[in-house]
Symmetry: C2
């Protein structure tokens, strides 16, 4: 797996690059749709490919480990074979869901004991186990097992947690070295910078993470409730320390505005449940601003869902029809809105890339962040 | 609108025909997917067309009248324009939902007063109003406003109700004559035979309905809980009375076996929620029998969902994957199973038609009804 930095923007810290994997090349900056349980909710794999232009999707280790379970995924020959998505897959380590979804969990140096949210059964994740599981799932990009601190988080806890995350990281790399890919293609481990919103901790963590010389690096512990300024400040600080020649992945971010601002700070990869989760509540992101399709305002609007949209659903369905579907809790409404939002996110990062390559990113970004925040 | 009888099977009463409408020709026998609220649940319109090969779909007057409401549908220029389905649409009269879904309803000679299941608001449907609403929805085929008697139903009530349905039918035809299509294409009224499971009533009702010389005729009040023998007996009796040169539509039927048996009795058109509703519970109809995809048996079965299936989903997704999706309540599982089941129903009636045309229907049907009832 290899990252090539193709162009650096002159007015911002934005970059365009290419990450080569055994399942294909990812052009950055990129947004990665979240496929929690081996499926991006409401979206067929061929729609991800042809309508949304996704280049890489996420899987959630916690969910896949519980259902369908590792035996099934390994039986299929890995997640790509299981769900029929043949492009790259990144899996998180399971840590985030363990902290946020589990009824009971106990974090110790050895690892984390937790209860399944399905049936209350007990499970134990360690850094080593998280690597083994991701090896079995067959992710192209494996994420380190870390603790994602909440917001707000007191300094003492953030510091203690960060150090444990660093010790866990060493164990993750050791386990990667001790094990081999199961399905014949390369799997790379991305370590994760933590440190909450504390500059000295973020600095120290970024330096530590950089020292591992991984194929790519991630920034975690953000987009957990902190104000946007904190998000941008920490991202800027960390991007300044992480090596330039490696891709930078900002985990769980964010709104279209967040994404453009963080591209300008030097981030290459993003993921977020927002486009699909908000779609199910009728929130549509468009190049002219945000639409709440449930509003009365759209009831008699028979114009295409998004005349500027790149997906087929944008042209063949009207605002009025999609409003009706979402208000009636019809599956098709969630499907249309999900495809629309994901296609919009992908078109946005694709245009950002084009703008970086042709040198017009900065002006375009400044105009876009105003429009994107509009409420239509 | 015109029906052409193309071929009569020699060993059974099965027929092949063509119903020409302003939105295209329907080749019979045909199955019509149910698009309750202007959407076949979980299925895109282009999937109905290209994957499922649907030729006509249903809309439910009761649901569409309440949501999105007539103003919206008329504003769009009718249901075809509203939902983007450009082939024929049939609407029921709303009566069935009024009887089965409404909390409160009062049936009188004038019409039926009922409460919305959404908000408890009061509404009043009459035969005239049911025609007006269906004119506004823009159905190609409009169904008469009738009373669908439950099963079991005592003789006296069935008789009284049948006579009222006949009086209502006269009012429906009168209202059709007094009104014109709203969107420039022809709309035809199909009357409905009632009479519960009583032979003399069914006979009398079929004769009455036949006397109206409508473009097509329907058989209602079946598939409401009666045993299959009663369904077949009543269908056979009524088909023997309804004119041969007009299409016969058996409402709300049924399983794949029911459909083949009733084609053999002379039915041309079917609709049923079973393929989509059962799909959402993991029941898949296949040419080898019925699969409950939730069963442990399919957990490690990585073979295609249905190797004999005609839809793309049948080949690109495995049984194991679809089992996982349905058990995890993932939208995509419901989508895949719905497309599969509908494509299977359409492929089944299409093959029935081919067999009728080439004279091999009877033997094929006898073999198929055994296989179709298998539990795999």
């Amino acid at each position: 797996m290899h990252f090539t930095l193709q162009k650096k923007d002159e007015k911002t810290k934005a970059r365009a690059g290419e990450l080569k994997t055994d399942h294909g090349t990812i052009q950055t900056p990129i947004f990665m749709p979240v496929g929690t349980a081996g499926t991006v909710k409401g979206v067929h794999q061929h729609e991800l490919d042809k309508e949304i232009n996704a280049q890489i999707i996420l899987g959630n280790t916690y969910h896949l480990y519980l259902k369908p379970g590792l035996e099934v995924i390994e039986g299929a020959g890995g997640l790509h074979k299981f769900n029929g998505w043949n492009k790259p897959i990144l899996t998180d380590s399971g840590g985030y869901q363990v902290y946020s979804l589990s009824g009971q969990r106990k974090i110790k140096e050895a690892g984390v004991k937790f209860q399944s949210h399905h049936d209350g059964s007990y499970h134990f994740f360690t850094p080593e186990r998280a690597i083994d599981i991701q090896r079995t799932i067959g992710a192209d990009i494996i994420m380190a097992f870390d603790e994602c601190t909440p917001y707000p988080c007191d300094y003492a806890y953030a510091k203690k947690s960060m150090h444990m995350t660093h010790r866990w990281l060493k164990r993750c790399f050791d386990q990667m070295d001790r094990t081999a890919p199961k399905y014949g293609y390369e799997q790379a481990l991305f370590p994760i910078v933590q440190g909450s919103v504390y500059e000295d901790l973020r600095e120290r963590s970024a330096e530590k993470i950089a020292s591992f010389d991984a194929v790519g690096n991630a920034i975690g512990g953000l987009s957990v409730g902190e104000p946007d300024e904190e998000l941008y400040k920490a991202t800027d600080l960390v991007c300044g320390i992480l090596p330039e020649e490696k891709p930078r992945y900002l985990m769980g971010v964010g709104t279209p505005v967040n994404i453009l601002e963080c591209i300008a700070l030097g981030v290459d990869m993003f993921d977020c449940v927002m486009p699909t989760r908000n779609a199910r509540h009728g929130m549509l992101f468009t190049s002219e601003g945000i639409i709440n399709i449930k509003n009365k305002k759209w009831e008699m609007d028979f114009s295409p869902l998004d005349p500027n949209g790149t997906a087929t659903v944008d042209q063949v369905y009207s605002k009025s029809y999609v409003r009706h579907l979402i208000r009636s809790n019809e599956f098709l409404g969630f499907q249309i809105a999900s495809i629309h939002n994901l296609a919009f996110y992908l078109a946005l990062v694709t245009e950002a890339r084009t703008r970086i390559l042709d040198g017009t990113f900065s002006e375009w970004k400044d105009k876009m962040v105003v429009k994107l925040a509009n409420r239509l």
